[in-house]
Symmetry: C2
Subunit: 346 residues, 2 copies
Amino acid sequence: MSAHGTEPLLLRALRREPTPRPPVWLMRQAGRYLPEYQALRKKAGGFLAMAQDPALAAEITLQPVRRFGVDAAILFSDILLPLEAMGMALRFEEGRGPVFERPLRAQADIDALEPVDPAETMPYVGEALRLTRAGLSDETALLGFCGAPFTLASYAVEGGGSANHAHLRELMYRRTDQFERLMGNLAVMVGRHLRYQIECGAQAVVLFDTWAGQLTLEDYRRYALPWTLRALEPVAGLAPRIAFVRGGDHLLDELVGIGVEGVALDWRTDIARAFERHGDRVALQGNLDPAALLAPPEEVTRRTRALLDRVAGRPGHILSLGHGVMKETDPQSVAAFVAVAKQAGS
Amino acid sequence: MSAHGTEPLLLRALRREPTPRPPVWLMRQAGRYLPEYQALRKKAGGFLAMAQDPALAAEITLQPVRRFGVDAAILFSDILLPLEAMGMALRFEEGRGPVFERPLRAQADIDALEPVDPAETMPYVGEALRLTRAGLSDETALLGFCGAPFTLASYAVEGGGSANHAHLRELMYRRTDQFERLMGNLAVMVGRHLRYQIECGAQAVVLFDTWAGQLTLEDYRRYALPWTLRALEPVAGLAPRIAFVRGGDHLLDELVGIGVEGVALDWRTDIARAFERHGDRVALQGNLDPAALLAPPEEVTRRTRALLDRVAGRPGHILSLGHGVMKETDPQSVAAFVAVAKQAGS
């Protein structure tokens, strides 16, 4: 054990310090692919009820830590809960995903959506973080997260998932003042939520931008990034921040320059090239294709080793997927993935 | 008028010859955003019935040529019709898109899917192409198209659109021999369909790969590209071929090297950089963001001019979108887009 004592590997990697092996965790590592989650879910009711019950959320958060020995726990929650806290009625439909009953389109609705205090409106998050921390060893990092303002706006305006975000684009391009008012309020809320999670024990935070990868670089700079920056600013220096844009390969040069400590790479980005270009500026997380976990465990092992070979032990690497674990995934494939990191450097 | 006489600008651009202005057309330029299409649709019934009626399909194909004066007509049809011709029952559901009643998953079903003769099973395509040609001036190119084998396999195996193609990935990684048998048969069918369209008057063909952009470069090379090559081979030298991969920015270096005459760029690719790297090898088509057509016409004009400025008149540019026209698009914005190309160079 080094002079760092029991400090989590993940935090050292986020400072781009050399670590004996890469820390490993997986986006959406707690959830439907795990039998122990399914067992709880049968008793507990729907997703939202579970995420808003601190004891259940903490238990679910700890499940993959116990099973796989991953180096970080990420709170079992959802990127859309801050919108619910702001007053938007939300439900999760089987096979369809999140649905907002009343999408945010009329100016009056946009004007009425105001940032709120997470400690008052989402106390279950803080309590779940405290309970999770109590169940973790000192070597395991606890992560908080939030959706980025652009992604929150996408869901709020479309009312759920959308192939082409036509309503959001119409708002962006034709009612730009209303779009900017919405984004400003979302950025304040996201910043508060990140700060609240850090105050309740999160040692690093991840900002997920699921939909900004749909934008050209020009539009990303104009319509998404300014509010990402505003959301991240209130927690600068409080805890390291990891930014993720799904399908964001074409935005990567921009993203690594915004001042975050880590950038999570989509699975389609060439990680060796990303390290060559940007490894001296930010830690880089990723980036096995989550769908590759549907391959047999021995193929998962081969691909994960190949990924680590390409990174070649550069400091600042956090082994993870390029997006979330799919519900069809065999837990044995996740175990094979984690094992490669655990064996590296030994 | 040059020595080329009335040869379509589009064909000259595909040979990377200088043209007085860039040719312009739009993916999915015929369809739901046009009032004249909606008027026909009210009388004619569903999408599939229209696409399989030669006179109607030809009329719909000609609508955007008449309204906008685009430089190419692309047959009103669907990438999935070859699968229907091979015996897979297909319907289009409002709000959900294409649905195959019986997705291709069992080995017996995969084995039973065999290539067929397009002239026998899809005669409406050939007839529609002949009728369209009769309605076009010599200056306007007629385009045929087909879905790439990987994209056809995606729809056939998933049974429709899918967020993560879990069934297809399982087939790829765990039943690779069955996946390859399926892809081999699809490649034969696609090659025949492209050839049939050329025989019936198509002067160039577009191969649409809607889903291969989900793959890493490694998986694209292993699981998609070999069958794209097989599908394109039977028409090499017969007519120029344009390849498109949606979300394929990370695959572009590979795609420009496969021997096609043109590559259509996704809207997120930097077109100036693509010309710098690849403009001496292939014609490049694109690549305005289709969602940018939701902006007011004056903003569409500004963005289209900026795009042409970035291309800087390099030969081999075909002005188009980076994906299909959205159904929410105002035809006036399409007119503004086309007008910029028409005014260029004058």
